[in-house]
Amino acid sequence: MGWFKRIKDGIQTTTKDKKETPEGLWHKCPTCKQMLTTEEHAENLWVCDKCEKHHRIGSVEYFHILFDNGRFKELETSLKSGDPLKFKDTKTYVVRLKQAKDKSKLTDAIRVGHGKMNDQDIIICCMDFNFIGGSMGSVVGEKISRAIDASLKKKIPLMIISKSGGARMMEAAFSLMQMAKTSAKLSLLAKAKIPYISLLTDPTTGGVTASFAMLGDVNLAEPGALIGFAGPRIVKETIGVDLPEGFQTSEFVLEHGFLDKIVKRKDLKNTISNLIKLFAN
């Protein structure tokens, strides 16, 4: 606790952010239709107790699961998207951003927290899929870049939880260059020999897979996540036949050698803190 007292401002606990779980509300597993009360569901870390499907959760839940007592200091909370291209498709990007903010109560598709994980310092960047599909624009890139700066400065291990459909089209080439930016920044972390743990969750595709998500010193994934570069629909269109069973799942990616380990949500915290302890040697 003393460690937290040294941080003057910005302390947050996830308790106040936690989703209301009024009694009597039920959650139905989309995979096996198992019914769980929302309380049981949360207690089970949003994993189905029958089929073990790891349901999609956001940064609020991951920070709650991974940081000791759910306590952390959130970094870089003020960064917001610009609209450099004045992008407009069926609606303007500005409107899209506002709607995403209203819907998700988030400022963009990633949050950065600094806290303790089993008593060891760690900085965690966690993507939020419910903000424009977890897409990577300038804010995501810049927040990761600044999280790496903090990691470098304080010599604290970094973890990034990926959950993204890829680049944010409405930021066009700006979004493409976030791949370059985050990967270049990670090269500095690698040079400084600070551990970087990448956790790929459902779904991780496109430019996120083709940059920081695949560059961990250790690449972990939750079970059954969709992980790939090209989306399954595009691959299917390319080959013109049905995709093989289990294509682009965590298990498939592990089998082909691009993941170190698949970790169940309940084991995430201990696995990661143990890895960091072993790296620290």
Partner: protein, 317 residues
Amino acid sequence: MATLIEIEKPLQKLLDQLDKAEHIQNESDVDVSKTIKDLKKKLREKRKEIFENLTAWERVMVSRHPDRPYTLAYINAITGGDFIELHGDRTVKDDKAMVGGLGSIDGQSVMFIGQQKGINTKMRQYRNFGMANPEGYRKALRLMKLAEKFNIPVISLIDTPGAFPGVEAEERGQGEAIARNLMEMAQLSVPIICIIIGEGASGGALGIGIGDKVLMLENSWYSVISPENCSAILWRTWEYKEQAAESLKLTGEDMLKNKLIDGIIKEPIGGAHNDPEETFRTVKEEILKQLKKLKAIEPDKLIEKRIKKFCAMGVTK
């Protein structure tokens, strides 16, 4: 006979007339050299008129012109044939959509890498339409590391509709291959010059696109997605590709204005395909100019500047 794309159709009549006149000149005793001269002048003016005010979508069409020169044509011209192609990623196979090798430009050794498109139906398939698989990116990385070992600068020529989205590409880690290149290129201790010579689509282009100088040919495009796919995703139809091309700000001019590239290389009137030799000369001059500057920078400083440049990209508030 040259292929004409839609915007070049107004040239058809003049080209036919020129063809006839040249035939007469060559096959008979009648001197029509003045007519030929006049026609060439008219063609030049017409080309200038057409190419002066291209829309973003029209530029995309020019970047895909079937007569546009591809990577190996540039390499052969720039090195005057002093080029040895090197193959394979040492792991899986040799990717025909990604070429590379050692060559010399005016006595200086350089390592070339780049996507290669095919010049006819058979070759287009052989080159997989310039869409590399993971082994292509790994071959490029192997060659870049080789260049680094012998302190040789890297010239990356980018021309791809994207990294290949196939089953085997996914099995062999397309995402990892591109990601690895981004990280490794950031730390490469030799100068890297990247030139988008045609299409610069998404991660497939960026995968060999981390350079100290990133330049775009005047009629190339570079963005996160092709206008067609952007239209398909955002408007749910391909109909809006022109509007998507505008919105994406994918031309050299816009990319330079947004500080996402370092410069534009002018093309001859009528586009690179209208005068490939002139294009090769301009590109060679630009490479020599940039090499001179970059070679003077200490490796540590070079890497630092390169990383800083990419880290400054993006707009937040």
